[in-house]
Amino acid sequence: MLADQLDVSRQTVNALETGRYDPSLPLAFRISRLFERRIEEIFDPGE
C-alpha cells in the first residue's frame, strides 16, 4: 500500500491525491523517490 511505503496514513494519501494537502518537504522527497520522478514533475504549485 502506498501509505505504508510513504509511512503516512491512508487519509493523508487521500488528501494529497485530492489536493487538500500540500506535503511537507521530507514527504515530497519520499514520494519523489518512490515514483522515480522529480518533485516538480509530481507537484504543480498551481500559481
Binding site: M1, D7, S9, R10, Q11, A15, L27
Partner: protein, 138 residues
C-alpha cells in the same frame, strides 16, 4: 497515480499507531474508572473530613495518563493528521473558553454553577470532536 497501490483499508502504519495509542490510553482510562469507583465507594465526599478533598482529586492522576497518551499519539502521527487533530483541539479549546466565560457570567448573575467544570469539559470535548470532523471534510 496510485491505482496499483491504493486500498480502502487502513495501512499497516495506521493500525500500528492505533494499537500504540490504545496501549497508552487504555491503562489511563481503566485506572480512572477504578479510582473513580474507589472514590465513590470510600471517599465520603459528602462528609466533613478534610481528607475528602484529597479523595476528590485522586481520579485526576490516572486522567493525566490519558493526557500523556494523546501527547504521544500526536508525536507518532504524520503531519496531515497532526494538522487535523490540532485544529480540532484548537476549536475545542476555543469552545471551552467561551463556555467558561459564559458560565462565569451566569454565575455572577446568580445561577448555580456547581457543575460548571463538567459543562466546560463537555463543551470542550464536543468542540474538539466537531472541529476535527469538519477539518477532515474540508
Amino acid at each position: 497515480m496510485t491505482s496499483d497501490l491504493d486500498s480502502s483499508g487502513n495501512s499497516r502504519g495506521d493500525r500500528a499507531r492505533t494499537r500504540a495509542y490504545l496501549r497508552d490510553f487504555l491503562p489511563g482510562i481503566g485506572g480512572y474508572l477504578v479510582v473513580l469507583a474507589l472514590v465513590v465507594r470510600f471517599g465520603n465526599l459528602d462528609g466533613s473530613s478534610p481528607w475528602r478533598f484529597l479523595w476528590a482529586v485522586l481520579p485526576v492522576i490516572p486522567a493525566l495518563w490519558c493526557l500523556r497518551a494523546v501527547a504521544r499519539h500526536i508525536g507518532r502521527i504524520d503531519d496531515y493528521q497532526q494538522r487535523l487533530l490540532l485544529k480540532g483541539i484548537g476549536v475545542g479549546f476555543g469552545v471551552a473558553m467561551i463556555t467558561a466565560v459564559t458560565v462565569g457570567f451566569l454565575g455572577i448573575a446568580g445561577m448555580d454553577t456547581r457543575l460548571a467544570g463538567w459543562i466546560i469539559f463537555a463543551a470542550g470535548m464536543l468542540g474538539w470532536v466537531v472541529g476535527a470532523a469538519v477539518s477532515a471534510k474540508r
